[in-house]
Each structure stands twice: as C-alpha cells, then as structure tokens.
C-alpha cells in the first residue's frame, strides 16, 4: 500500500515524527515499510517569471532568458522548446541540489547561466503522473503563480512523502486510510480524528429506484440516486492524495468515488443516472456475453461472473469495472451511487481471468469490512455536496443482509502472560487495547474487548495476545526453554539408514547430489523400475517439469551430462530420494560412476570404474549395513535391458526381495546424455529396511593353523564363477574356510572357447590341526567335483 505521510497527517498530528522514524515504528509493529520516497526532491527552488527569452547566439535550440525571481533578475540559459517570454517557471538557483546533481553558476556556450529552469521530472516526480507536454519541456506554472515563492513543493502539492507499506493478508483493513490512521495512532499512542461523516447520507426523498439481487454472490447492496451533480475539476489536494495512492484524476465526481474508496476501503461505483432509464439495477451471475467496459476494452463474460444489469442489459462487471455505456462524463447531470458487497473469490477469479486487476477488484479480493458500505455512502454524500454541488437526493436503498453484530472477545491477564511468557501488568495490557479502540472492560482478571468493525482479523484471545506483544514490543520477551516432561529424541530406522549410507558412500569417494523431483515426459517413459503410474501436475509450469519422478536414473544421468559438459571427466555421485507413483512412494539410493574412481598416475594407482567396481561397492555397502554376502544374490538382469547393457548388468536380491538393478548403462541410452561407459545402480532403501539386518556376533578366533591349496584348470568360457564355486562348496567339506579365484586367463596357450582359472582354497578346522591326509581327502573330492560338475581340465 502507498501511504501518503501528508494525508495521514490529516488524521494524526505527525509534527514530531519524520517519515523515516514513522517507517521504523510501523515496521517494528508489523506493518513492514519497504520504502520511503519523497514525491519530489530538490533544494533552493523558487517560482520565477521569464521576462525575456532570446535565442542563444551559438546554439540552434538553447534560449537565453532574463528570469525574475523575487526582486532579482537572473540570466539563465534554457534548452526547453516551450521556454518563452511571460512564462511562470520553477527555478533552481545556484547551489540547488536536485536528484540529477548540483546546480552551479557557469557559462553555457559562452553565455552566463545562473541556475536552471526545471521540469517536474528533473525534480524526481514519477513520470507516470506527467503529461506529454510536461515530459517534453519545463513545467508551465499557472499565470497567477506567486513569483518569489520559495516553498515550491507546497505550492505544487508535492510536499509529501510516500511510505510503501507491505501489509500481511490479515491486515487488509489497513488498505483503508481511516483504518491505517487508527493503527498508526495505536503505534504512536496518539489521538486519531476521522472526518465527521456519520449519518450524512440520511437525506433524500422516497425513491422509485429498484435494486434486485439475483445472486448469493452479492449479499448486500446500498444504492442512492443523486439527481443533480456538477461535473468539474477536482480540488488540488484531492488530486494530490489520489496521485500519492497511485490513482489518476479524472473529474470531481469520479475522483470522489475513488477518494472515498481509499478512505474507507469500500469500492464504489457511480453510474450516470440518465443511462439507467428503467430505474432499476439487477445483480446477476448467469450471463454469457461480451461487454465493453469503461476502459473501452471488450470482455468475454462467463457464467459465474457477477454482472450489474439495468433493463436487462449489462452495465458493469460487478466489483471490477463499470460499463462504458453508463460512464460518468462532462455531460453527466445526475448519478446513482453503488456501494455493495461482492463475493471475494468470485471477484478474484473473474479479475484474474479477464486480466483486469483494478483497484476495486483488489479491495474486494482482500476483504471489505462489514460497515464500510454505510461509511462510504455517508462520506460520498458529504463530499459530493461539498465539491460537486450535489442535490436532489433520494433515500438510500439497502437490499440484502443489513445486520452487523459487533464482536466481543475476552481474555484474562494471566492467560495472556502465560502464553507470551511475560509478566505484563493489567495497565500495560489495557493501555494497548485502548489505543487500538478495543474499549477494554476489566472485571477482575478478565478483560472484555469490543472489537471495531474493521478489525475482522480479531476473533479470539490469541489475537488479543498478539496485539499486546506486538505493540508493547517483542524486546520485552525473555529467552527460556520449555519446561516439560522428558522425551526421548532419536532418529528413526530409515533416518539412521540414510546417515549410514552417506557415510559409506563418502568413503567410496562419491559426491552426494540432490536433483529436481519434477521431470519431463521422456524421463517418465524411460524410468528405471518405475514405481508405478506417474503422478502428473494439473497445471505444469513448463514441459521440463510435468511429473513427479518414478525413478532417479534420468535425473542422475543428467547431472553427469552437465558435469561432463563442464570439463569434469570423473564424476561419481549418489542420491538418496523418494520416488512417487499414484498411491505409492519409495525411498531409493542411486549410484553413478563415470570415469576413474582413483586417478593417480604418479603412484600408478588408477582405478577405472567398471561393473565389478560397482558390484564391489554394493556388496560392501550391504555388508556394512548388516546384510552379509550369503544373503545377497546377484542375478542376471531380467528387469531392464533397455537402459542397461544386457550382458553387463544384474539384479541385486536380498533374501527374497529384489532391491534393484545395477550395471553399465546401455551405450545407446548413454549416448542420449552424451555419456559412454557409465555405471549406474538404483536400489530400494525401503526394501533394504524391510529385511532384518544380521546382528554382530563374535566368533572365537581360530586356534589351529590353516593350509592353502592352489588349483589351476581350464574350463569352457561360459562356465561362471558361481558355477565353479558352487562345485567346490558342494564337495561338502566343512574344512573349506574360503575359496578365492585369483586369476582368469584367455588367449595364447588356452584353447579357443576356454579359459584358464586359478583359485586358492583355504582349509582349516576349529578343533584340531589338519593332517595331510585329511586335507588331501577333501581336496580330492573338490577336484573330482570340478571335473564332473564344470568339466574342468586340471593343469599341473
């Protein structure tokens, strides 16, 4: 809200407080002032008269003037095209400080110039208020302007400062000047005087005018016929106040309607009475049509929009803008005043759809207080009489709901202090409430407040408490901690799992990323193990952000793509995030490896991430989380071979649950992200939590020595490591402590289609030292099994 300091001063004596001090106090009390702007700026100004104006001898556009400023005549060079003899002008004297800089006496192309003739723009007046003429030259003052007058801004009505107040939605009442004055009065502990408006509309003859409400969206309508008005110029002070609020002046009658709206918060509409020949107004909301509003634009009216009609024809978009047809102009002789209440939601919808965000619509949308219609009608009559020679009044027509029950809210001193944690006295509290015009009545502990009609935000005791602390000041609060029974604070299982996961991923040298939840069509179509049907936004802001993602893969690949494009070739990421589908959600872990995981040529330690790197990470991640290798199964990928390399990817199973898929991204798919050879895994953390982690159990340390035996053999290439290890373990010896393949070789000296395998078996018993015989017996069984189960040809 744009608040005029000068206008406010009409209601409260502000002589001892500057606009800047006022802004600070208002901000502290919750009415945040975002800017303080003088309407015009400049020192050392005076009103002058151009006595003589001749062309500058050395310029095609400059003039040399002799300008009288009081008793003195100064030579001033001026470049404005409208500079001429006899003009009354604003003169900035030597030493004047203007927004554009300081004015000093100096020659202009050889001609002495002792100041500057000013335009209003040069004095910092908002361009918005200036006409073409004013923008293109110096300001032309009226002929009767007092030459020598030094208080130029007061003469022009520009001696004002505008406070830009950001109101919270609960304080829409302060959009009305009168209510704002009450609020400022409470902040400053000063008396507030509203104009003597009450009862001024209780005049007039009986009326035949008919108002009918055919929609619930207009609960109340105040109307009044004024048979005679004189349309003419608006008093200067009113124009200035309208300007301060950001409203253009049109004529006295229209300006009064806007001025009263600014005072009371009630949007008004004045119709040219002669354009309502049927003497009726009906409010409807069931029309579909086109109509031209008073800005000359045509609007498409839909069912649901509230319309004002007369004789069956539309004559205004209710609460937003009147029709062109019934507009007030210089020929208007009589008017009909409308002060009505329209449904805020409906007004907001219509004004947004028509892109017609008028001052009236904004007032309705933010809410109008219940007594505003009466106040606005009274004030309209008062000002129309005073400034538009209004006469021939008919009685006020009131249709719809009229009752207003003043609100009474009770609070006790102890409850107030208890909620705030303060120790205020009854006097402190009632002082604040009196300043707010809440008329507090004290009965022992209890305070009964009578809430003014415009404070629609005050409904219960907590609202009273807020007013008390807000106006006494929050600095009076101490800092304490809640006193209450002890509670256990701890993280939940999933929260702990996330923390463990991060710790482990950090130790693998991966960076955590957070990517956007909302994704495009392609990401949904190409989701990895999508959780289900994607949740779609009703009204997305862009094609890129249409769905809630069902998998993390594409967002993570996009991140790798970005970093590759920014000259980072080794990118290793993890992300922990929920994915969503209709009626479902799941917490997932994504891992992406791209490039070298270790890159240290100096010490010859380079680890290029491949399938086995990722597999190793997953196995040790699961092991660290309490799921030992025996419970984890890596199976061929049957879930998604579209996005994965069909022969270099696998499923991860924990007990009987598939946690997800990992492996090399399909080269064709990687190409879409300008990547190649990128490894990716996406696992369900919820799935992990659903299985119980194994407990840590200490096993007594082995006391007897172990014996290792190496075996080398050749098998067909397609025989898997798992088949070989199964063959060994199925030999059944309890003495086999561990088996490890330490070499695989294909190529020279090995027959085509075969591979050479070398492995080491560790034999050990927990209760005695193994004898050669025992080991040999067991080892022979192993060898036999290798030969029979995987057709191993032993090498010696």
């Amino acid at each position: 809200m744009k608040l005029s300091y000068k206008w406010l001063n009409e209601y409260i004596d502000l002589s001892d407080i500057t606009p800047y001090e006022l802004a600070d106090k208002m901000t502290t009390a919750g009415l945040e002032v975002e800017g303080v702007e003088p309407m015009a700026q400049g020192t050392n100004l005076v009103i002058g008269e151009v006595l003589e104006c001749v062309d500058h001898p050395d310029s095609d556009h400059l003039h040399v003037t002799q300008t009288r400023v009081g008793d003195e005549v100064l030579q001033i060079v001026c470049g404005a095209p409208n500079c001429r003899k006899g003009l009354k002008v604003i003169v900035a004297l030597n030493g004047a400080e203007l927004p554009g800089g300081k004015i000093t006496t100096k020659p202009v192309r050889g001609q002495e110039s002792n100041g500057m003739l000013c335009s209003l723009m040069e004095l910092g007046v908002d361009k918005h208020w200036l006409s073409e003429v004013q923008l293109s030259g110096i300001e032309e003052l009226p002929e009767d302007a007092p030459v020598g007058e030094r208080n130029v801004f007061a003469y022009l009505g520009l001696d004002d400062t505008i406070l830009d107040v950001s109101l919270t939605p609960n304080r829409a009442d302060c959009n009305a000047m009168w209510n704002m004055a009450k609020e400022v009065g409470a902040i400053l502990h000063k008396e507030v005087h509203w104009p003597d408006y009450e009862g001024k509309s209780h005049v007039g003859e009986p009326t035949n005018f008919k108002v009918v409400l055919e929609t619930e969206k207009c609960p109340t309508f105040y109307g009044k016929v004024v048979n005679h008005v004189k349309v003419g110029p608006t008093p200067k002070w009113m124009v200035n106040y309208l300007h301060a609020a950001g409203i253009n002046s049109i004529n006295n009658v229209v300006d009064i309607s806007n001025f009263v709206m600014l005072e009371t918060g009630q949007p008004l509409h004045y119709y040219d009475y002669s354009k309502l020949p049927k003497g009726d107004i009906t409010v409807v909301d069931d029309r579909e049509m086109k109509m031209v509003a008073l800005d000359g634009e045509e609007f498409e009216i839909q069912k649901g929009d509230i319309l004002i009609t007369t004789g069956g024809e539309a004559t205004g978009i209710a609460g937003i803008m009147g029709g062109e047809e019934s507009m007030i102009d210089e020929n208007t002789k009589g008017i009909f005043i409308e002060a009505a209440n329209f449904d805020a939601v409906s007004i907001r919808k219509t004004s947004l759809r028509l892109n017609l965000i008028t001052e009236a619509a904004q007032h309705f949308t933010k809410g109008v207080e219940p007594l505003a219609m009466q106040k606005a009608m009274d004030r309209s009559v008062q000002l129309l009489k005073e400034y538009a020679e209004a006469d021939g009044f008919e009685e006020t027509i009131i249709v719809g709901k009229k009752d207003y029950e003043p609100k009474v809210v009770k609070e006790t001193l102890s409850h107030c202090n208890e909620l705030l944690g303060t120790n205020f006295s009854m006097d402190q509290v009632t002082d604040v409430l009196s300043a707010l015009d809440f008329k507090p009545e004290v009965n022992g502990e209890e305070i009964t407040c009578h809430i003014p009609s415009y404070r629609t935000d005050i409904e219960r005791s907590a609202d009273i408490d807020e007013e008390v602390i807000r106006l006494i000041g929050f600095d009076s609060l101490e800092t304490t901690l809640p006193l209450m029974s002890a509670t256990v604070g701890q993280l939940s299982p999933i929260q702990r799992l996330r923390r463990k996961t991060r710790e482990i991923m950090c130790s693998f040298n991966l960076h955590e990323i957070i990517t956007y939840t909302l994704v495009n069509d392609a990401y949904i179509e190409n989701a990895l193990l999508p959780l289900g049907k994607a949740v779609a936004l009703a009204m997305p802001m862009s094609e890129a952000r249409k769905y809630v993602r069902t998998s993390l893969m594409n967002s993570v690949l996009e991140c790798a793509q970005y970093n590759e494009a920014h000259q980072s070739s080794n990118n290793h990421f993890y992300e922990i995030s929920k994915v969503y589908a209709e009626g479902d959600e799941e917490e997932r872990l994504a891992i992406l490896l791209d490039g070298k995981l270790q890159d240290d040529p100096l010490h010859k330690q380079t680890l290029i991430a491949d399938f086995y790197t990722l597999k190793g990470m997953i196995i040790s991640f699961l092991e660290k989380c309490g799921y030992q290798e025996g419970r984890v199964h890596i199976n061929p990928n049957s879930k998604d071979t579209e996005h994965f390399h069909p022969y270099r990817s696998a499923e991860v199973w924990l007990d009987k649950t598939c946690l997800g898929v990992f492996g090399e991204i399909h080269p064709e798919y990687a190409k879409k992200f300008d990547l190649n050879h990128v490894l990716y895994a996406e696992l369900s953390l919820d799935g992990l939590l659903a299985s119980k982690a194994s407990k840590v159990r200490f096993k007594p340390l082995e006391r007897y020595p172990s014996v290792s035996r190496d075996i080398a053999f050749v098998v067909k290439k397609e025989v898997s490591a798992k088949e070989i290890l199964d063959a060994i373990h199925k030999a059944g010896s309890k003495m086999i402590q561990s088996t490890e393949i330490f070499d695989i070789y294909e190529g020279e000296h090995v027959e085509e289609g075969y591979k050479s395998v070398a492995l080491r078996i560790i034999y050990q018993a927990s209760d005695h030292t193994l004898t050669d015989n025992e080991i040999q017996e067991s080892h022979n069984a192993v060898l036999k099994n290798l030969e029979s189960k995987v057709k191993a040809q032993l090498r010696s």
């Binding site: 901000t27 502290t28 919750g30 919270t168 939605p169 805020a344 939601v345 208890e418 909620l419 705030l420 944690g421 303060t422 219960r460 907590a462 609202d463 602390i469 807000r470 929050f474 609060l477 101490e478 800092t479 304490t480 901690l481 809640p482 006193l483 209450m484 002890a486 509670t487 604070g489 701890q490 939940s492 929260q495 991060r502 950090c506 693998f508 040298n509 991966l510 960076h511 955590e512 990323i513 957070i514 990517t515 956007y516 939840t517 909302l518 949740v535 936004l537 009703a538 009204m539 802001m541 952000r545 809630v548 991140c559 970005y562 970093n563 920014h566 993890y574 959600e585 240290d600 330690q605």
Partner: protein, 345 residues
C-alpha cells in the same frame, strides 16, 4: 715366548682398529681366530714348553684370544650399524612429492545443515518426523487453518495434482499429520525437515523446489519466550555460538502471534556489513505460537495446552553460511560446487 703373544695381540688389535668394512673384519677373524689362525698357532707353540711354563702360557693365550674376540665383536657392531645406515640412506625418497590421492566423497550442503539441526533437536528430546511430498490439500492447507479461498493460499502458489492432492508447499503438512496422529496426547516435540515445492520460476533467488525444516512443540504452559530461547540455540547451531535473536510481528495462518525471526549477523556480529545490508540482523525464520484453531481442529483443548512452531529454509541458511550466491547451485550439482563441502565445518 710370552712376548710373541703380546706381539700377536697388539698386531691383531691394531688391525681390527683399522678395519673399515665387515668383509675385512671377517678376514681378520679368520686370520687370528680361525683353526689355522695366529692364535691357534701360538697354542701350538706350547708343545715346546716345559710343564711348569705351560699353564701360564696357556692362560696368556686365552686372555689374548678373549681380547681379540671382544675387539672383533665391538668392531663388528660398529661396522654393521654403519652398513645399515648407508643402506637406509640409499632408500631416501623425495618427501615433497604429492601423496597418494586419498579423496573422500561429500555430503550435500543442504543435508549437512539438516543433520546439524537434527542433532541439536534430537539432543533436546525431539523426534524427526517425515511425511509425503505428494500431499493432501487437507494436511497442507485445511488443518493448517488455510481453508479454500483464504488469501494466504496466494502467498504459496501451489502445484496441484488434483483438487485434493498437491505437492506440499511447506513441511507444516508434516506437523498437521503428527498433531492428528497424537490424538490429543501430550507432549509433542518434533522437527520436520523435507523438500517442498512452489510455483516459482527458477532464478538466482527462487527455486520451484526447496528444503524446509520446521519444528513443533505442544505441551502445558509452552510460551512465546520458550520459542525465543529455543530459536537462540538453533541460531547458534546454524551460525556459530553467541547469536542473538529478535522477533518482529508477522502473519502466518497457523500461528498467533506470528513472528519473523532475525538473527544477529554472524559475519559482523551485529555491526553491519554487506551480508546483513548494514542492519546487523539477518531475517531467517518464521515462527509463532500454534493457532488455537489449529490445536482444536486436531483434537487438542486449546485452553489446556499451548505450543510453538517455527520454520526455516535450509537453502537460505546455506547460502548465508557459505556465501553461495545462486540457489540453483544446490540442484545443478556441479562437482566444483560439491567439492567445496569436502571438509568438516
């Protein structure tokens, strides 16, 4: 004859003294102590001595042998020490070369801050609550005292999925779920961090997705002063010890009174600097006493209990704390950005 012994001994000791490597010392050992060595030779001279002379001579030779052996061992020790140190010297490396790269991964800065806040509140007996990001209008707005057509819905332009479902615009939705779940049981002490979404165009200071952490306490005799005290600790955790907090009146539909919370600027300690734009304070939190209607809608007797709630945007905290100038950095995940957070703070 006796002189002969003395002569051999002196000669041996002198040569041992001169020996400068293990090999020549070994040669001297053979020369003097070997089976055919000079001392053995002396022993063989005994044959020619009388019975009376023999014991004295033998004794002398033994003394000589002991002396030489001792000298050899002493010298041996000296020489082998020297050999080791010269061997070590040959093993000299350039300690100024870079060490092996032992880099560790990182945790996202938003999570770092979230974890710090979690740890503070868990330590004070709070639980960490969570809820769905695809949320019901009922929890996001209705229960939070923001009915349909409430002007505050404009403040949070919402991604709707259908009229009943939306992407949560604040983690207040989690608070409402927890209040409802409590069925009027007191006390409630929780914080609720999480992702939230609003219809904003992404730019340096706006993001359609961001992270909030809210807190909620409901119990008997909970006061606004308790809120101030609690937030003071939170400010210390976020920005370092010694912060002060200041309340300014504000408006949120789910709290009454509502406040904006300023924290004394951690960069200038309140003197005024670029970060706080000269004011000495940075605006960081929204908070207030839980609106009695919110308590009642969730089945609590607002005359018998009270509560406070607060909320903070983690991006804003991280941006202030680490001097990050563009909110998009958190979601672009440039490796250079992420690597900034590779150490404890």
């Amino acid at each position: 004859m006796i002189e002969k012994i003395t002569q051999v001994q002196e000669e041996a000791l002198s040569e041992i003294e001169k020996a400068d490597n293990v090999e020549s010392l070994q040669q001297l050992r053979i020369t003097y102590l070997g089976k055919k060595g000079k001392i053995q030779e002396l022993m063989s001279l005994m044959r020619d001595l009388s019975k009376e002379e023999k014991p004295a001579f033998g004794q002398k030779v033994n003394i000589c042998k002991d002396e030489v052996t001792k000298a050899l061992e002493a010298k041996q020790e000296v020489l082998s020490k020297g050999a080791l140190s010269s061997k070590l010297e040959k093993e000299k490396i350039d300690i100024t070369l870079a060490g092996n790269k032992m880099t560790l991964g990182t945790i996202h800065p938003l999570i770092l801050i979230q974890q710090e806040i979690e740890d503070l509140f868990v330590g004070m007996g709070y639980k960490v609550a969570e809820g769905p990001e695809v949320e019901k209008d009922y929890y996001n707005f209705e229960l939070a005292n923001i009915p349909h057509d409430h002007p505050a819905r404009d403040m949070q332009d919402t991604f709707y999925i259908n009229p009943e479902t939306l992407l949560r615009t604040h983690t207040t939705a989690i608070q409402m779920r927890e209040l409802e779940k409590a069925h009027g049981e007191l006390p409630i002490k929780l914080i609720c961090p999480g992702k939230v979404y609003r219809r904003d165009d992404d730019d340096a200071t706006h993001s359609h997705q961001f992270t909030q952490c809210e807190g909620l306490v409901v119990g008997e005799h909970i006061t606004l002063a308790d809120l101030k005290g609690t937030l003071k600790y939170m400010a210390d955790v976020m920005f370092g010890e010694g912060r002060q907090v200041r309340f300014r009146p504000s408006y949120f539909p789910f709290t009454e009174p509502s406040v904006e919370v300023d924290v004394s600027c951690p960069f200038c300690n309140g003197k005024g600097c670029n970060v706080c734009k000269g004011s000495g304070w940075i605006e960081i939190l929204g908070a207030g006493m839980v609106h009695p209607r919110v308590l009642e809608m969730n089945g609590f007797d607002s005359r018998k209990c009270s509560g406070f709630a607060f909320g903070v945007g983690l991006e804003r905290v991280a941006m202030l704390k680490y001097g990050i100038d563009d909110i998009r950095n958190f979601y672009i995940n440039d490796v250079r950005f992420l690597e900034t957070f590779n150490r404890f703070d």
